[in-house]
Symmetry: C2
Subunit: 304 residues, 2 copies
Amino acid sequence: MTFKINILGCGSATPTLRRNPTAQVVNVLERHFLIDCAEGTQLQMRKFGIKFQRINHIFISHLHGDHYLGLVGFISTLHLLGRTKDLHIYAPEALGDIIFSQLKASKSFLSYHIEFHPLTSQKNELIFEDNLVTVHTIPLKHRIYCNGFLIKEKEHPYRLDIKAVEAHKIPIAWYHRLKKGEDYIENGVKIPLSTLTLPPVPSRSYAFCSDTAYHESIIPIIKGTNLLYHEATFLEKHEARAKKTFHSTVKQAAKIAKKAEVKQLIFGHYSARYKNTTDFEIEASSIFENSKAVEDGAEFSIDF
Amino acid sequence: MTFKINILGCGSATPTLRRNPTAQVVNVLERHFLIDCAEGTQLQMRKFGIKFQRINHIFISHLHGDHYLGLVGFISTLHLLGRTKDLHIYAPEALGDIIFSQLKASKSFLSYHIEFHPLTSQKNELIFEDNLVTVHTIPLKHRIYCNGFLIKEKEHPYRLDIKAVEAHKIPIAWYHRLKKGEDYIENGVKIPLSTLTLPPVPSRSYAFCSDTAYHESIIPIIKGTNLLYHEATFLEKHEARAKKTFHSTVKQAAKIAKKAEVKQLIFGHYSARYKNTTDFEIEASSIFENSKAVEDGAEFSIDF
């Protein structure tokens, strides 16, 4: 029941010897999602032992270079490694041409198919769904069109109270209906679900919100999420700069976390002007206790 | 009188933790040229202490990703660092759209001007010239349109033989004409140039040839060059593979060096299948003695 986030890059604007720009791999129930893919991402994956071919779905927040310039190289490397599985890319519409014009210029005929899913909506919408997991966009407020992503387990089944179930001699063939939440009728009498089952374990979720200005509209979307990654490009003393560039201060990130009642906040996308993250952690925890500055290579798990 | 080549990347196809794909910086008489710009090049520049803003001219051989995918990120970083000087890019025509469509998608308005020089000719042609240096294309034989580059000092002036010049009481105002190679007429008698001057120091040159199949047409263009970088993707045992992919074996690179009578051969662009370069050096030197395998971070000087 893995739900794990690997930070491959958490700097902003440009790669440095200390930090790569944005990229993360989310493993949710063995679905491996890549979120953003800055220049150098494939090298970070090698460094941190991420298996390239496990990634079948890539989500790109927006078309600033520090969030996607490693993508065409990654696509090309998957081909060189002999990939045959489809690769799904969810990204702002213009990225389609950017990818395919480069493949055309290099006369590359990929060994696999890319299914490009253009994102255009300004609304919170479902963009991925399978039997266990959903991904929704989180419309953000940035200089250009930008989405965060909410990755969520679907509701888990009710858990059978085996003793109670056996006492009522409920046929095994009926178990899956109990798990779905149906009541059981015994000799015309309804046995309440709550006497036969325990409530489902809660569904876990991860919200990625970068890049964005302080934007309260995201609060209902990410309400109560287990783990929130929110960009924190600046310290409070540079709030004016944050406003001008449609980024957030770390205190603003913490305010969003608090108002959305998330369980834990992690943050990154630091401006290169800061030497370390000590002041970021001080400012964040003054508003929201359970918060942490990320670094490249960090790993976070969401447990039940 | 610097003439220096810094190897930023010498692997092929894809970045690995050991080698970056192709990029080189050539400093010729304080003109700083970037040749090719694979993903990760700007990080290699930071690692090897190359000053970003000194680069005013970028030459791109061809549009396979391992030769240019770091370019848009580098352009963007120059902007973030506040560049105002023009940047000249010489590259296959299609790269113009690839660059400008990405700048458009990110709504980036650069702080400086890019002058894009599209390369389309199949012939050896002059593409850069100033008072001291020229750059010519070297048409190569690859799967897609591809040029090498010949970087050359212009002819140096004749050197005055000061004792002889003073003995003939030649006016100082005439010196620059002697340096250009004009004879001097004294009382109607021609004083031969050779009695007044020493021959110019030889002009130095560097030839970059990657990617290419074995291609003898380049020999007259690079004849006698001081330093030749020639791709050597494969060892001899993989010659069939080299032929199929329009690459060269290291022995083929050495044959070109020998036939072109260059002073020194360096080679790279190794396929990732080889663990080290020992066999490359053995095979190369069996044909051309003064040859050397390059690694990322290597530096070569061309002396008089």
